[in-house]
């Protein structure tokens, strides 16, 4: 009953000033968690944006979050991808690794295993670009940390339902 669940929620919103502030203010004002949040316009005329939010809470809180989001005037629809069924989740990361010698070679080998690409290189560093599920990115970063100084930029999760249905 009171177990904490992690949910990925997609909200289609009018692309107007302040809409992101409304969403973030809602989460902070009501004490909800945000694990990650991304936003970008998704319609050809850029009039609508899609906000992807990963949040966690009890089932009652998750229901509240959806109802509260729906209540915001510029929000067109709210979809609980976790509850609605199978969906694809991806995150993008840029990972800079500063290492030399064997560690440098090892970082390249690991990048290969993870299908990460080299986006930039110097004598003592690489920037890898990597796409995948959250835990894949996390384990990649963890391995890299063992090899040298690491800087990470992550996009946060974007997600979409599997199948042919379109929102």
């Amino acid at each position: 009953m009171d177990t904490i669940e992690r949910h990925t929620i997609a909200a289609l919103v009018e692309n107007e000033p302040g809409v992101l502030a409304r969403v973030i203010g809602l989460f902070s004002g009501r004490g909800y968690n945000i694990e990650s949040l991304t936003v970008a316009p998704v319609t050809p005329d850029e009039s609508m944006s899609r906000i992807s939010i990963v949040t966690s809470g009890t089932p009652m809180i998750i229901e509240q979050i959806k109802a509260q989001l729906n209540r915001l005037v510029p929000i067109a629809s709210v979809h609980d991808l976790t509850a609605d069924g199978p969906h694809v989740e991806r995150e993008f990361a840029l990972v800079k690794v500063v290492a030399s010698g064997a560690n440098r070679r090892e970082s390249l080998r690991i990048a290969d295993i993870f299908h990460a690409h080299v986006a930039d290189t110097t004598i003592e560093s690489f920037v890898f670009s990597l796409t995948g599920q959250r835990d894949k990115i996390e384990s990649f970063v963890e391995l890299m940390r063992a090899l040298g100084d690491v800087e990470v930029a992550r996009s946060g999760v974007v997600a979409i339902a599997r199948g042919s249905k379109v929102l």
Binding site: E14, M60, A67, N70, A76
Partner: protein, 586 residues
């Protein structure tokens, strides 16, 4: 409809007139000068000059609550807008339709820390239903009409429209939109058939039903209140009302159990605790109503009708959520009930009413009478009895006097009772009374006040004087912030930290200085004369009713306790200490 060329400021006036607005409450300043100029040049809109912007919002709330229309406010940028914040929050918590127009520095200065600039949309985002910043004069007409639509529809609430000064000067085309169809905002009004059917089945099968109704019934409009009354009489279920809902069922109806919650009646709270089916109509299971959640109505199947989906399953999980407008849903429920020709099983119902009558015998609102000292409850009782045959509207401040008013004043109709429920804003009552009196010039409007609360917006006496509004301020002067003192007595060993109302003004002289009439009563036998005189003068009155300083408000569910754990009087409080977890609750 052909569009017309005019300035942004003229559009503001025009849009308000097209919305049917007759009165606006405001206070001028640099950032709204063009609008005040446009106001000066017309005679369709009446502007009421308040003495502080906070007063403007409460006045608009009083106007809105007593008429069912949208209340309108006009204030300047910066401090004008920030002064409005308390009122906006109040209107949000109590779901009151208010449109607040704020001036803003010109668009090219926004973000520069210009004189009297503040981030009005940022500050008011969490305390409005929605807000706008108009950056193009061509958006003006649409935005203003949309603001009204959003404020009054669905679950009503405050909407801010921030108007930079250059946009007020700019010229554009004004056109009244035919009908507002919002792209993303579409409140659901009607329930599904199966929801209605299930509700009827649950009510029909109930042995110990209760209807628990709130402000949503009043917001839904006059039909909702008629339908609620019919539903209660048809189903024969007892009905209790929240602080916001008083008047939604006539208080004289035998099915009415009184208000429920922290200072509700014993029978209302016990019936909530003991019911087997609860129909919640336009109320939100607020903590003042439920008491301890894990002991709330433990054996009840719950139905919840609310237009706001976020009110459902927020505090209490219900068995049948119904999202919709109260009037629509009750209408459908009654149609199905009638069509099925339902008569609930008489036996268990009789038992239930017998039980309720036993609880009623406790006479929980009873208090110790006195013929030497004015008991605050007695003062309210006499006020009620002596205004009964008048066209009376009551507003209140916040504190013990507010709860005594809720307990002892009886409302036969909705929209007669204006009180700050959700936010509990001291200083609400006087400006609200001003708004009510403007909407109902011939009515008797009384602000039941405490001596501490009334000082929070006392400047509005000047507004009452300017517009010759005969509002009556009925102060239950106990020389304490009584409600806080009561909690200090209960929770903090009677250490009355800073709750004595020190250095009070002489309210009679104060009234006089505002051109109003000041009256005072100190003994019970002076009370009737005071009320008679207060009602007979055609001027604003401050009546200083000096009441028992030590009286506390009972019955009471102490914080963290359940509906069946009420305290009935001073002796009671000592016996049942308040739990640690109750202490931290507000």
């Amino acid at each position: 409809m052909a569009s017309e060329r005019m300035t942004g400021a003229e559009m503001v006036i025009r849009a308000l007139v097209d919305q049917g607005v007759e009165v606006i409450f405001g206070y001028p300043g640099g950032a709204v000068l063009p609008i005040y100029d446009a106001l000066f040049k017309q005679n369709k809109l009446r502007h009421v000059l308040v003495r502080q912007e906070g007063g403007a919002v409460h006045a608009a709330e009083g106007y809105a609550r007593s008429t069912g229309k949208v209340g309108v406010v006009l204030v300047t940028s910066g401090p004008g807008a920030t002064n409005a914040v308390t009122g906006l929050t109040d209107a949000l918590m109590d779901s009151i339709p208010v449109v607040c127009l704020t001036g803003q520095v010109p668009t090219h200065l926004i973000g520069n820390d210009a004189f009297q600039e503040c981030d009005t949309t940022g500050i008011t985002r969490p305390c409005t239903k929605h807000n706008y910043l108009v950056k193009d004069v061509d958006d003006m007409a649409q935005t203003l009409h949309e603001a009204f639509h959003i404020s009054r529809s669905g679950r009503p609430g405050p909407v801010v429209v921030d108007l930079p000064k250059d946009i007020q000067f700019a010229e554009g085309d004004y056109e009244m939109p035919a009908e507002i169809v919002h792209k993303t905002y579409k409140p659901r009004l009607k329930a599904t058939n199966s929801e209605v059917e299930t509700a009827v089945e649950m009510l029909a099968g109930a042995k110990r039903p209760i209807v628990y109704a709130g402000g949503g019934v009043i917001n839904s409009g006059p039909r909702a209140h008629e339908l609620l009354t019919r539903l209660v009489r048809t189903t024969g279920a007892p009905c209790t009302l929240t602080l916001m809902g008083l008047g939604a069922l006539p208080a004289s109806d035998p099915h009415f159990l009184g208000m429920l919650g922290m200072h509700g009646s014993y029978e209302a709270n016990m019936a909530m605790h003991g019911c087997d089916v609860m129909l919640c109509v336009g109320a939100r299971f607020d903590d003042r109503v439920t008491g301890r959640l894990d002991a709330f109505a433990p054996n009840a199947k719950k139905i919840h009708i609310d237009i706001d989906p976020s009110s459902i399953n927020k505090n209490v999980l219900v068995d049948l959520p119904i999202i919709g407008d109260v009037a629509h849903v009750l209408d459908d429920i009654l149609k199905v009930w009638d069509a099925k020709n339902i008569t609930p099983d008489g036996g268990p119902r009789q038992e239930w009413w017998k039980q309720i009558d036993k609880w009623r015998e406790k006479d929980s609102l009873n208090y110790q009478k006195s013929d030497t000292i004015i008991k605050p409850q007695y003062a309210i009782q006499r006020l009620y009895e002596m205004t009964q045959d008048r066209d009376t509207y009551i507003t209140t401040e916040v504190g013990q006097h507010q709860m005594w008013a809720a307990q002892h004043f009886k409302f036969e109709e909705p929209k007669r009772w204006m009180t700050s429920g959700g936010l509990g804003t001291m200083g609400y009552g006087l400006p609200a009374a001003i708004g009510v009196q403007l909407a109902h010039p011939d009515a008797t409007v009384v602000d039941i006040a405490g001596e501490a609360s009334i000082l929070m917006n006392i400047q509005e006496m000047a507004t009452a004087a300017q517009y010759r509004l005969p509002v009556k301020i009925f102060i239950l002067n106990n020389q304490y912030m009584g409600m806080v003192r009561q909690w200090q007595e209960l929770l903090h060993g009677g250490r009355y930290s800073e709750t004595y109302s020190e250095s009070l003004p002489d309210f009679v002289k104060l009234a006089d200085s505002f051109g109003a009439v000041g009256l005072r009563a100190t003994k019970p036998d002076e009370l009737d004369d005071l009320i008679t005189e207060m009602l007979s003068v055609d001027k604003a009155v401050i009546a200083d009713v000096c009441v028992d300083k030590t009286e506390n408000c009972f019955p009471m569910i102490p914080s963290g306790a359940a509906h069946n754990e009420m305290l009935f009087g001073p002796g009671d409080s000592a016996e049942k200490p308040i739990s640690k977890s109750g202490m931290v609750l507000v």
